[in-house]
Amino acid sequence: MAAQEITYRDALRQALDDAMRDDETVVVIGEEVGRYGGAYGVTKDLIASYGEERLIDTPISEPAIIGAAVGAAMTGLRPVAELMYVDFLGLVMDQLANQAAKIRYMFGGQIGVPMVVRTQGGTGRSAGAQHSQSLEAWVMHTPGLRLAMPATAADAYHLLRHALTLPDPVVFIEHKALYARKERTDLAAPVAPWGQATIRRAGSDVTLVTYSRMVFTALEAAAALAERGIAAEVIDLRTLNPLDMATVAASVRRTGRAVVVTESCLTGGVAAELAARIGEECFDYLEDPVIRIAGEDVPIPVSPALESAAIPQPPVIISVVQRMLRR
C-alpha cells in the first residue's frame, strides 16, 4: 500500500475496521457509535460492515457502558467502549479504576480485562468547561490501566491496533482538534512499537517532551527556534503507560535541558510526573531546571479568546527556551 493522505479520524476508523475484520470478538459499544457513526465520526459506516451486533448503540449510561464492557471483556469479547468526552471520566472512574484496573490483581491473576476505552479530550472547539478537559493524569495515576495518546494519524492507527491485542485495559485518548488533521502516510508501514517514544525532531540544545496535540505545538515552536539557531529536540511519548523514560532520559542527558509541554492544567498533571522523573534520572546532566509549560490551573472558559489563552501556544515555548539558553 502506498502513502496516501489520511486524517487522524480515518486512521482510527481504519484501525477499528481492520481489527473487527481480523478478530470476531471485537465489538464497539457506546453512545451513537452505530447508526450515527460516532459523535466525532470515528465509527462512521462501520455498522454497515459489522451490524448492530458489533456496533452497539447504548443509552446515555456511561457507568454501565464501562461496566458492561468490563463484564464482556471477562467473558470472551474484546470491547471497545467509546466514552464520548474524556470529561465524562468523572462518571466512570469507579468502573474504570476500581473495577477494570484492579480485577486481574484482586483476583490473583485469574483473569484479565482486555478492553479499550476510546475517548477524546482537549480544547479547540469552545466546547466549554465540561467538554474540553485533559484528564489523562487521573488515568495515569491508576495502576492496572494502560494509556495511549496518539498525535499522528499513523500512531492513531497502529497504537489502536496494538491496544486491541493487549491482555489488559487500555484507555485511548484522542484529541478533538486532531480528527480533521491530514497526514501523508502508508498505514502498512511500521511505526515505533507500542510503549516506545518517538523523536519527532532531533536537536541538541533542549528537549521538548510532550504527547497528543501538543506535539504539533512543540514542533511549531521548534521550527521557529531553528530559525533563531536553536536546535530543539521534540519527543512524542505516544503512550503514557508504558512510559518510555529511556528515550526521554537519553535525550535530556544529551541536551542538558528539558521542557515538558502538556495541554492539561499544571498542578498534579502528567507534566509533573515527567518533570519529576527527568529530575530524578538526569540530575547530573541538567543545566537548568526542568520547566513545565502546561494549561492554566483554571476550568476551560468557553470564550474562544480565553480558551486558546488557557493552553500552551508556540510563543510561550519559544520564549522559555530562549530564556533558558539566554539567546
Binding site: E31, E32, R35, Y36, A39, D57, P59, I60, S61, P63, A64, D87, F88, G90, L91, R125, S126, A127, G128, A129, Q130, H131, L266, T267, D288, P289, I291, I293, A294, E296, D297, V298, P299, P301, V302, S303, P304, A305, L306, A309, A310, P312, V316, S319, V320, R323, M324
Partner: protein, 366 residues
C-alpha cells in the same frame, strides 16, 4: 386534580384555568386566558432559537455546541408559567427556551452564547452553562443528568430554611437512562422535598430515538415506582403542560415531590452540524406538525381571543427584539484576558498563578 403515584396520569389537553393575564406585552386580548401570554413566550423562544442558528452561521457563536429547543417551547412556557418567583431550577444543555420562559434577557443570553463579556456568565460559560441566580436559574449543564441532583439539594435547603420555594429540574429523555436521576428521584421522595423533575421528551437523544434507548418508554411508571407523583403532558398543547405543571408544582410546594414528562419533538438536528440522517423525512414532517407555537396561534384566533393581525404584530415585535439581540452580541466585547484567572475561587482567596508569572519567576531565578 389529585395525583396518585401508583396511577400515573396522562393529561393530553385540559382547559386552561381562568387566571389573571400576566402578559408583559402591550397586547392583552382577553384577561381570562393565559394562552396569549404562553403564545408570546413560545414565539419569543422560537424566534430566539432561530437567531441563535443565525449567530452560528455568522460565526458569532462561541463554538458549535448549540442545542436549539425548537419544538419544545410548550414545555418551557407551560412549566415556567406555573413556577413562582422564588422557585429555582436547573436545565440541561438544551435550556435556552426554559430560561427565556423564566424571563431571561435575550441580549445577555445571546451574548453568553457568543462568549462575550456582557453575557450572563461573562462569556466563560457559553450556551451550555448559562445561569442566573437573580432569576433562580441554578445552571444549565453539559453533563446529561448533571444538574438533576442539584434540585434535591435546593429542596433540602428550602425545607430546612423553611422557604416557600420549589426547585425544578429540566432534562431530556436521554437523561432517563442516567443513574443519577433515580438516586435523585428516590431522595426527593424519601425526604418529601419540594422538588419537581421535568423530562422534556423530544423523542431523541442525539441520533437515538427513545425506543432504542429503553424498552419501556412510559417514564411515569419509573417515577411512580419510586414514590413520586407522576404525570405526562402533551407538549403540543401548552395549556395542558401548564395545567399538569401547576398541579405538580403545587403539590411539591406542599412537599409532595413530582415527576412530569412532556412529550414533544426535536424539530432539527441535535446540534447545529447534525442533519438528522438517522430519521426519515416523513417522521420529521410528522413531528414538526406537532408544533405548539402554531397550535397556540390557531387556538388564539379560533377561540376569538385575538385576531391574525394582532398576532402578526406581536410576532414582528418579537422579531425585532431578537434581531437586536444579535446586533447586541455582535457589538459586545470579548472578555478581557485577566478574566480567565478570576472566579476559580472566590475573590480574595488564594488564586492560581498564571503560567506567564510562574515562568517569569522561575526563569528569573534560573
Amino acid at each position: 386534580m389529585t395525583l396518585d403515584p401508583a396511577k400515573p396520569q396522562r393529561i393530553s389537553s385540559q382547559p386552561a384555568q381562568p387566571q389573571s393575564a400576566q402578559s408583559q406585552s402591550a397586547y392583552s386580548p382577553r384577561a381570562n386566558s393565559r394562552l396569549w401570554e404562553f403564545y408570546r413566550t413560545m414565539r419569543r423562544i422560537r424566534c430566539f432559537e432561530e437567531r441563535v442558528g443565525e449567530l452560528y452561521v455568522r460565526g458569532l457563536s462561541a463554538g458549535s455546541m448549540l442545542h436549539l429547543s425548537i419544538g419544545e417551547e410548550a414545555a418551557a412556557a407551560g412549566v415556567c408559567a406555573a413556577m413562582a418567583p422564588q422557585d429555582s431550577f436547573t436545565t440541561h444543555h438544551r435550556g435556552h427556551g426554559i430560561f427565556l420562559a423564566r424571563g431571561a434577557d435575550p441580549n445577555r443570553m445571546m451574548a453568553e452564547i457568543g462568549g462575550k463579556a456582557a453575557g450572563y456568565c461573562g462569556g466563560k460559560g457559553g450556551s451550555m452553562h448559562i445561569a442566573d441566580m437573580q432569576l433562580g436559574h441554578l445552571g444549565a449543564n453539559a453533563i446529561v443528568g448533571g444538574g438533576i441532583p442539584h434540585v434535591v439539594g435546593a429542596g433540602l435547603s428550602y425545607k430546612r430554611l423553611k422557604r416557600d420555594a420549589v426547585s425544578v429540574a429540566f432534562f431530556g429523555d436521554g437523561a432517563m437512562q442516567q443513574g443519577i436521576l433515580y438516586e435523585s428521584l428516590n431522595m426527593a421522595a424519601l425526604w418529601s422535598l419540594p422538588v419537581v423533575f421535568v423530562c422534556v421528551n423530544n423523542q431523541y437523544g442525539m441520533g437515538t430515538r427513545i425506543d432504542r434507548a429503553t424498552a419501556e418508554t412510559d417514564f411515569t411508571r419509573r417515577a411512580a415506582a419510586l414514590g413520586l407523583a407522576a404525570a405526562e403532558a402533551d407538549g403540543e398543547d401548552v395549556e395542558a403542560v401548564h395545567a399538569a405543571a401547576a398541579a405538580l408544582i403545587g403539590g411539591a410546594r406542599r412537599h409532595r415531590p413530582a415527576f412530569l414528562t412532556v412529550s414533544c419533538f426535536r424539530f432539527y438536528g441535535h446540534g447545529r452540524m447534525d442533519k438528522s440522517p438517522y430519521r426519515t423525512a416523513d417522521e420529521e414532517a410528522a413531528g414538526r406538525r406537532r408544533d405548539p407555537v402554531a397550535r397556540a396561534r390557531v387556538e388564539l384566533i379560533a377561540r376569538g381571543l385575538t385576531d391574525a393581525a394582532q398576532v402578526d404584530s406581536l410576532d414582528a415585535e418579537i422579531e425585532a427584539e431578537m434581531n437586536a439581540a444579535i446586533d447586541y452580541t455582535a457589538a459586545a466585547a470579548a472578555p478581557e484576558l485577566a478574566a480567565m484567572f478570576r472566579d476559580v475561587f472566590a475573590p480574595g482567596e488564594p488564586a492560581p498563578e498564571p503560567l506567564a508569572d510562574r515562568l517569569d519567576r522561575l526563569l528569573a531565578e534560573a
